[in-house]
Symmetry: C2
Subunit: 212 residues, 2 copies
Amino acid sequence: MTRRDTKSLICEVARELFNLQGTANVSTNHVALELDMSPGNLYYHFRNKEAILDRLLAQYLGELKPYTNSNALESDIEDAWFFIHMTSELATRYRFIYRDTDYILGKYPPAAQAVSLALTSLLEAITRLLTGLDKNGALQLPSDQAHRDLAMNMLIVCTQWIRFRRHLAGKAQVDVEAEDLNAGVYQTLSIVMPYLEPSQRQHLENLRGQYT
Amino acid sequence: MTRRDTKSLICEVARELFNLQGTANVSTNHVALELDMSPGNLYYHFRNKEAILDRLLAQYLGELKPYTNSNALESDIEDAWFFIHMTSELATRYRFIYRDTDYILGKYPPAAQAVSLALTSLLEAITRLLTGLDKNGALQLPSDQAHRDLAMNMLIVCTQWIRFRRHLAGKAQVDVEAEDLNAGVYQTLSIVMPYLEPSQRQHLENLRGQYT
């Protein structure tokens, strides 16, 4: 296995452990143990947990970029469903970032820039998505203020949904099912419901029935 | 000082430390140190951190009850502003609960019931608030489904706002200003904006200008 492969494998296992057990509860020794690797060998690739976090944040930003950087303007609610679904699925794969944010920022301040960049680029992409739908007549935005409020509310709901749904049910978050994800996509899009053109509104209801 | 006073004082100091430093980073020894009290003396009142958490959760639920149990149906957007403001202010005073939820539920599973109870009673109260506004003609809800979606989105935004706003700015949450709170109240109410009767919509805009 090349050095690059080993680095990727370490990150993969760390990501899963952070997701399942919480970033605070996972040390580099846990990661090494899970990989059946000596702590010294892991140290050769990453000098500490921060270095792993650093790479995982860069990796998340890299995977997010094709969605947030796209120049294509979404034209109907199905495109919007797809966009929210893809970015939510990605956020779910890296859910430790949105769940353990306070721990990460508290222990490792340089992460703040990556977290802020992820959120602001998502906010901009959602804003562009709304502009696209508006331009194409799929919805009607009453004002620029409503535009900003909508995008912000959609971002809060789509990044906090998984975590929130568990808390409401009185569970510590451990796993995520496809059902949670789809319910979150619908919940996020329900925010634009009143602004949708009637046939688009019906289409959103149909998508909901199909996926949740 | 009576025993009861001392217990209350310990909880008060623990609540502030949990809010400022994160529940995970505060031990009973930190609380004792802050109070200039011996760990043994603190132990006489609370046998561990869980016992303090337990009391703080009960205290939060007790303070929340007058708002969530009220039988008065809100009649206009100003009543709604007041309700969201009061419950958000309370959630801000106990913000470690909504911020460190995963840590608390992971380390202390019995807390799950209290957290779930807080969220479900808030969800029911917001649902009732919407019903009241609808009954009084302040807004018009198109369907029961919209009713449920709205209440859920409002709950997510009002409980996650403070935390989210810091992350978007790339900051670990440390303090909260009145401005954050008022912006959160507006952001929460912006979700019902399209359903509001025009004069109520104008009134919400005025309240926003007044407070943010």
